[in-house]
Structures are given as C-alpha cells and as structure tokens.
C-alpha cells in the first residue's frame, strides 16, 4: 500500500541509512523545517525539533512539560500509554520530579561512582577472561555488553544478578518497537510482580544497596514514598541502567572498529579516553527518541507556533549532529573534546546515571581493546541486526572474533 507523504503526515521514526548515523532526513529538517510535524506510530502527531539550540530550549524550559499524564503526551510504542497512566518520575515535572530524584542522587555523585570503579573493573576483567576462553565468533552483546551493565546496576540497586535472564527478556519487550500493547502489558506485569517481591525481601532483610535504603528510609510509613512509586522507580533504574549502557558498549565497539585511525589514536594516547567517550556519546546519541515533551502553553520555536497540548520530540541525535555546533558532525573524532553534547539530555531531567555510564564506558573500552587487540566484527557491519525503532538504539547481536 502506498501512502502520500506530505509534510504533515510524515511517519516517524525516520529511517536510518547508515546504521551508525542518524537518519539523513534530520539534516534536511534542521536546515529547512527545524520544527516540523510528524505522525506518530501510536496515532496522533508531534513536533520534531532538530536544531541543537532548540533541543536545549525544549529540554530546559518549563513551557515544555515532561508530565506523562497530560492528555496527548507523545508516545512512540504501543505499550507506553499504559506506563504513562502512573509514570516513573522521569515523566514528571518539578517539584514532584525533584522530590524523587533527590532520593537517589547520593548513589550517583562523582565521589560515589569513583568508589564503584574497582568493582566495575573486576567485573569487566572476569567477563573478558570468560570471553577469551570461548571459541570465536562470540556475541559481544550476550557475553559482555549486557552482563557488564546488568552486573553494575544489579549491585547498585540490590537486585540479584542471577535473575538477569528474567528481567532482561522482559525489559527487551518494553523497549522494542516490535512489541504489541498486550506483550508490553504482560511483560510489565511480570516485572512489577518481581520487583514487588524483591521490595518485600528488602523489608524483611535490608542489605547494603539502594533498594534497601529506599525501603528503610523513604518507603511509607517511614517516609512519603508509596510502594507503587518505589516499584516504578526501581524498574526504571534497572531498565535504564542495563539497556542504554549495553547499547553504548556494543555500538561504541562497532564505531571504534569502523574508525581504525581513531582507535589507533586512542591506543597511542590513553589520556584521550574521557574525550573519546564523550565523542562516542555524541556520535551515537542512542537515546535519540527518548526525550519527548508536551507544550504546557502556547509558544514559538524557530518561528513555528506550538499550541498548548501539542507533543514535542527533541531529537538528541539531530542536535548532536548539528553542524552549527559540531563542525563535520559525521566525523568521529576522539580529539573533539566536547562535553556539550545532549546525549544524556539536558535540563532538570538530564540522565541521573550519566557519570556511572561514563565510568563503565571508560573501563570497558580501555580494557576491551587492551585485552583483545585483534578484536573485529565477524560479519559485515551493514548486516548486523540493528534496533531500528527502539527507544534506545543499538544492536541486538554483535558477533565478534579475534
């Protein structure tokens, strides 16, 4: 069936051509229609925002609300509406958002993350020992990227890592562009039941972890945190903690292997590592589709009028490839030295776990290429199964050899 494409009925998400680059249509939109209307896969429409400055405005101005309970809040996946009826705090505005975020912040400060580094390094070393004992080709996602990120977030939260197959498979349903609303609801129900049981266990036997701390210090009747709120908070942390970081590890590996000159520069000068991580974050901007908002009042953006109640999608990859801010954005350059990318979002909702992610990525890339200098992708990079249409972009599988 053919469909007429007019500016007002363009379907979304847009297609990527090069699997490591944002959809090429972003460039045209940024230049010609920086605020443009698209039709969403869940029905309804939203404004796409593609310029860096406009994206920062949307994400930092209270005119654009993150409140997922507002009627018409834009969704991309069929199951999202169900979550938004009682959303996690990342889909709330201040002061509610700040109330929840502050309960968590102590576990994510730079100093706290620094104390976690030896543990992360030990996990990475052990996983690479295991990986090197296997016969290549090996799926780097399954054998390394997912275990690293899952181990770290499980330890921080106090979720038993032995349950990782259960929550990973259910989380996968939750972020996939292929899931139906029914599959989504079933997966969410199972995750809720699992987390509810875990909260009960922490009430009976608190440990030295974030979930225990939330239970003993903030959960009703001691504090003001309701059980269902704690439940959604923990599911969100668990999901955000393992999905996004795992995608960055696998996709970042592909990006570095596809740019051997940049990888060589990094190997020659390991001090470049923090800058290289920032550049990979910018270049890949895997959370491109996550930052949705709704206009709380009528406003104007780059000359386009946006009415109250209209949905807005601040495209992170479009902002991070804005040539006005990042010259030659298509060039992966570990010397670029930028930290003003918006890969972690911007404004009061900017990623809570960003410094944990930085630490994980630094340790992972330093150790991976040191331990396996001959690492290469075992199939043509164009043929990898990419996560088109997922909320967080990445690869489903990454067969590697050495």
């Amino acid at each position: 069936m053919s469909q007429t494409t007019t500016p007002d009925s363009r379907s979304f998400p847009l297609r990527r051509q090069c699997p490591l680059a944002p959809p090429p249509e972003y460039d045209r939109l940024r230049a010609e229609e920086p605020v443009s209307k698209v039709r969403l896969p869940t029905g309804g429409a939203a404004w796409l925002v593609t310029r860096y400055e406009d994206v920062r405005t949307v994400l930092s101005s209270p005119v654009f609300s993150a409140d997922g309970t507002r009627p018409g809040f834009p969704t991309l996946l069929p199951g999202q509406a169900q979550v938004l009826r009682r959303p996690p705090f990342i889909r709330m505005d201040p002061p509610q958002h700040s109330f929840y975020r502050r309960m968590l912040i102590q576990e994510f400060t730079l100093k706290r993350i620094k104390t976690m580094r030896p543990g992360i390094q030990a996990s990475v070393n052990r996983l690479l020992d295991d990986l090197l004992a296997m016969t290549p080709p090996v799926d780097l996602v399954e054998a390394f990227a997912l275990p690293v990120s899952s181990l770290v977030i499980c330890q921080l939260l106090g979720v038993p890592y032995d349950d990782h197959e259960f929550f990973q498979s259910r989380s996968k349903v939750g972020v996939s562009g292929q899931s139906t609303a029914e599959q989504f609801a079933a997966a969410l129900g199972e995750l809720r039941a699992y987390m509810d049981g875990l909260i009960t266990r922490k009430q009976q036997e608190p440990g030295d972890d974030l979930l225990s701390k939330l239970v003993t210090e903030h959960l009703e009747p001691v504090g003001e945190l309701r059980r269902d709120e704690l439940l959604m908070m923990c599911l969100m942390l668990l999901n955000a903690g393992h999905e996004t970081t795992a995608n960055m590890i696998s996709l970042g590996t592909v990006a570095l292997l596809e740019h051997p000159d940049q990888l060589a520069a990094l190997r020659e000068n390991p001090e470049l590592l923090p800058d290289a991580i920032e550049e990979l974050l910018r270049y890949l901007s895997i959370a491109d589709l996550v930052t949705t908002r709704i206009a709380a009042e009528e406003t104007e953006l780059s000359g386009t009028r946006i009415r109250a109640g209209e949905g807005v999608i601040a495209l992170l990859a479009a902002a991070d490839w804005d040539p006005a801010v990042f010259p030659e954005p298509e060039r992966l350059d570990v010397h670029r030295g930028n930290r003003h990318h918006v890969a972690f979002g911007y404004g009061v909702h900017q990623c809570l776990g960003q410094n944990l992610a930085r630490a994980e990525l630094e340790i992972v890339f330093a150790t991976l290429f040191e331990r396996i200098p001959a690492l290469r992708v075992a199939v043509p990079v164009d043929e990898l199964p990419y996560k088109h249409g997922n909320l967080a972009y990445g690869v489903h599988e990454l067969p590697v050899t050495w």
């Binding site: 930092s60 912040i105 730079l110 003003h340 404004g347 009061v348 960003q354 410094n355």
Partner: protein
C-alpha cells in the same frame, strides 16, 4: 570572575565537578553543587566558564 550557584535549582548532575574539578565540588549526601573557588585563578577560568555553560539546570552563573 565571580561564580554563583543556586542550590535550590541544582539537580546534582555533577557536570560542574566533572568539568572543573578544582572549582566545583558535590555535597556527599545531596550531590548539590559547592563552589570551592568562586573567583578561580586564570588557569581554571576556561574550565569554570565551560562548567557554567554545561550546567543542565541553570543553577550556575558568572557575575
């Protein structure tokens, strides 16, 4: 240079302490910004100005 910080706006992202570690610090318990050097020496000013620009919440300013 005079750096200002509003801890009622700060969201404890840690971008400032990451970008200009000598100039900014984070509170141990709340992660809130602490300005260690409100008038940083010349060699730290560039990083301090970048940190102000990167602050996601708009809590930092330069007077």
């Amino acid at each position: 240079m005079r750096i200002t910080a509003d801890t009622t706006i700060c969201i404890s992202a840690g971008m400032c302490a990451l970008t200009a570690p000598g100039v900014f610090d984070q509170g141990d318990n709340d992660g809130l910004v602490a300005v260690v050097l409100p008038d940083p020496p010349e060699e730290l000013r560039k990083a301090a100005a970048e940190a102000v620009r990167l602050c996601p919440s708009g809590a930092l300013g330069i007077r």
